[in-house]
């Protein structure tokens, strides 16, 4: 079945598949690590056990998600060499050091303190343990910083020269790291990670509020998540708009594809809300549009002229259909998140945050929304970059390794099988963990071990009860 595909297309499928799986875990663990640090900090500050219980509950889920993130990340770090070796050779002198710094400043920090965070509360005491949790959280943010810098450089390359071997040579590292789209992309991604986590935590809290299990912990969880949604969703919409303006400046073709502007609009472009992009006829069929609104949003002027894809050679068009739709999915979910956030504020004002079942049901339904929005956003930005890997300088077709299609096909099939099996099981375990709220320190052994990551049998606690049993931990 793969005879009709070429190696480049297969390599792109493989990259899209593995990176899409991978991005889910960092998006979750960036937000969750910060949440854990906040929970432990509140516990130390307020001495309220509910925060420790929530910390232990989410710590276990974090461990499972982090493990999946690590292993899917190893695939990424080798795939640049196996499938995109020409890209690695040419862009390696710039992308490589950025990723090298990611490993040195973030991966080791996360991995080194993760063990202490998961297993060490009784060995190092609460203060040092909090420090370990903070290090893990900071590590995830540093990691995002470097990887977004590398990705942004591929979108808006700066600070380089080319040598005779066709390699990108760094000239100004400051310009490379802080390339034009980096601040917007980093902000947008970190906020997206926080929102993603907020909606997962919110859905879990809402689920337990509906089921009336452990009401105090569920209330606390739900309330914290809804504050996050109410505060971050509007900020994210503003940040997304800034990012869009930046993209219009540096990657106009991507914005044209997002907006479905096949034609130029010399006196004010409409905003196409929905429609079916038709790349053969170069128009959007069945379009529902608001006149002049696109010009107003992008240029802040109703009659500003806006160029369309007709100003760009056809072989340099990104695939319009995919970008058009993924962008709408992302924006639609963003506004739905804002809606939940505002609704929760209203309920909070009315004092019905813990009792409004419809809000809880909506929050449960929106649990996966962050993941879908993150994936849609990445599809928009990465597919919108096509046909380039390094925008304007290196075509995707000229980046691929000298490999045979059957080999890429075979490894693609292997990854698909392994990922669905392994990450399917992981998702099942995470959902099952979420369905049980943190229970009292003694686990119900009849239902199977409920250890947090191997060593501790139940939620680790420093209460008198546990420390009499656990006195030998300090050995």
């Amino acid at each position: 079945m793969f005879e009709s595909f070429d190696a480049t297309l297969l390599a792109r499928f493989q990259f899209a598949f593995t990176v899409s799986f991978h991005i889910i875990f960092p998006a979750f663990s960036i937000g969750l690590a910060s949440y854990l640090a906040v929970l432990e900090g509140l516990w130390l500050l307020k001495k309220d056990e509910v925060y420790l219980e929530l910390f232990n509950f989410w710590k276990t889920i974090f461990a499972v998600a982090f493990g999946m993130g690590v292993v899917s990340g190893i695939v990424m770090s080798y795939q640049f060499g196996t499938n995109w070796s020409v890209f690695s050779d040419k862009a390696g002198p710039i992308i490589g050091p950025l990723m090298g710094y990611e490993v040195l400043t973030a991966f080791f920090l996360e991995a080194g303190f993760l063990g202490v965070m998961l297993f060490g509360l009784n060995r190092v005491g609460p203060k040092l343990h909090f420090l370990a949790t903070l290090m893990v959280a900071i590590g995830t943010l540093i990691s995002a910083t470097w990887i977004l810098s590398a990705n942004s450089w591929m979108q808006t390359p700066a600070g380089f020269a080319m040598n005779e071997a066709g390699q990108f040579i760094p000239v100004d590292w400051w310009a490379i790291v802080f390339n034009p789209s980096f601040p917007y992309r980093l902000t947008h991604m970190v906020l997206a990670a926080y929102l993603t986590t907020a909606f997962v935590v919110g859905a879990c809290g809402a689920w337990h509020l509906i089921r009336k299990t452990a009401p105090r912990r569920a209330r606390k969880m739900f309330s914290m998540a809804m504050w996050m949604a109410a505060i971050v969703a509007p900020i994210q919409i503003f940040a997304g708009d800034m990012h869009g303006l930046n993209t219009l400046e540096h990657q106009p073709a991507k914005v044209m594809a997002m907006e479905g502007h096949y034609q130029s609009h010399p006196d004010g472009a409409p905003l196409i809300l929905f429609g079916i992009p038709n790349s053969v006829e170069k128009r959007v069929d069945y379009a529902i549009e608001v006149p002049k609104l696109s010009s107003l949003i992008l240029k802040h002027d109703l009659n500003a002229p806006l160029a369309g894809l007709d100003t760009i050679p056809e072989e340099l068009h990104p695939p319009v259909g995919i970008v058009f739709w993924s962008f709408r999915v992302m924006v639609g979910l963003g506004f739905a998140m804002l809606g939940i956030g505002l609704w929760s504020l209203w309920c909070r004002y009315r004092g019905t945050l813990d009792s409004n079942v419809w809000l809880h049901r909506a929050a449960v339904a929106m649990g996966p929304a962050g993941f879908v929005a993150v994936l849609a956003g990445w599809v928009t930005t990465e597919v919108g970059r096509q046909p380039y890997t390094v925008y304007g300088h290196l075509l995707t077709a000229n980046s691929v390794a000298p490999i045979a299609a059957p080999a890429v096909a075979a490894s693609l099939i292997a990854f698909i099988i392994v990922y669905f099996f392994v990450f399917g099981a992981g998702t099942f375990y995470i959902l099952r963990l979420m369905a049980r709220l943190p229970r009292d320190p003694m686990p119900d052994l009849d239902e199977g071990p409920l250890r947090s990551s191997g060593i501790m049998p139940g939620p680790a606690t420093l209460s008198t009860h546990a420390s009499t049993h656990g006195g030998h931990h300090g050995v």
Partner: protein, 334 residues
């Protein structure tokens, strides 16, 4: 004084790979030994002995790969396509093994599945790493900045042999780690296995060492030409010293000595490969200087590495210190 940046970086990458081999080596070894310990209780203790540190250990592999792309992009871009199948096999092995650390505790019904994933994944990853090593030692042809060999060139009797050698060697690291970290019956059986793995490792190292010089004229010259032949006296002598420390350590129940001696064996084997290799990055095609990234990339990352690697080593050591001593088998059973 002019700094030879590619040379310095070759040293740092070599250090990262060595750190990976000895650190992830013992935790992969624990997985490889799972079939010899069928009891659930033993397996719980074995896994717990490495659970807090395995993630940090594996990060050295990411540094090896990511660092190679950063400072020797041409080596990265030619080695990985040449070793496509073993690299994919390695990452798939590492996926199964890595998730097993968490999943195994989440289910009782499917526990056997994740035992199998942990053990099988560890073996697959170790074997693939050994094949990768063998394929690199036997040489990778490069022309016009691209790999020009065939699809199955990596698969030779020599690379199969190095694959087996790495599996046995990791099992030795794993068994001596268990001797150091466990009590009682489990430790006794680990001692027994460590003894067997010692002889297996020495035999495998011997075969690979005698085979290697005949793969490339340069290797032969290094080991048997003057003045470098001094190494071919010193290295085997030190290997015998380590072997002695290993076996007497096991017999006399000095529980940390066998692990240290096994580490010594690995360092010596690694040095032996280095003696054959230098100054190649991808023998017989690319030297360190051919494969190096531009000066601007090397110096930018070096500034960070010189500050950060010592810090990383410090907190890694701290993390090992937090979890020092024997694993308490009761710790998992409150």
């Amino acid at each position: 004084m002019e700094f030879d940046l590619p040379f310095i970086w070759a040293g740092i990458i070599a250090f990262a790979v060595l750190a990976y081999v000895i650190l992830d080596g013992f935790d992969l070894g624990v997985g490889i030994l799972f079939p010899f310990f069928p009891e659930k209780h033993d397996r719980d203790v074995m896994m717990n002995s490495v659970a807090p540190v395995w993630d940090g250990n594996e990060t050295w592999l990411v540094l090896g790969g990511g660092g190679l792309m950063a400072v020797f992009p041409l080596a990265y871009a030619t080695i990985l396509p040449a070793l496509y199948a073993p690299i994919i096999a390695m990452v798939i092995g590492l996926i199964f093994r890595g998730v097993a650390f968490e999943y195994r505790w989440r289910t009782r019904r499917a526990e056997y599945l994740w035992n199998w994933a942990f053990s099988g994944g560890s073996m697959l990853a170790a074997f693939a790493q050994g094949i990768t090593l063998g394929a690199l030692v036997q040489g990778i042809p490069v022309e016009n900045r691209a790999y020009v060999g065939g699809w199955w060139d990596w698969l030779t009797p020599f690379s199969i042999m190095t694959g087996i050698a790495v599996v046995v060697g990791y099992a030795l690291l794993g068994s001596t780690w268990l001797v150091m970290k466990t009590h009682g019956d489990l430790a006794d059986r680990a001692r027994d296995l460590a003894l067997k793995c010692s002889f297996g490792t020495i035999a495998a190292m011997g075969i690979v060492s005698l085979w290697t010089p005949f793969l490339e004229p340069q290797y032969l010259d290094r080991w048997f030409g003057f003045p470098t032949a001094i190494f071919s006296v010193i290295v085997p002598a030190l290997v015998l010293g380590c072997l002695y420390a290993l076996i007497t350590g096991i017999r006399s129940r000095h529980d940390s000595r066998p692990f240290l001696a096994a580490l010594g064996l690995f360092v010596l084997g690694y040095a032996g490969i280095g003696i054959s290799f230098y100054p190649y990055m991808v023998p017989p095609s690319l030297t360190i200087w051919d494969a190096a990234a531009p000066e601007e990339s090397l110096s930018f990352l070096l500034a960070g590495a010189l500050v950060l690697v010592p810090i990383i080593l410090a907190y890694t050591a701290y993390s090992y210190w937090v979890f020092r001593g024997k694993v308490d088998p009761e710790e998992g059973y409150h």
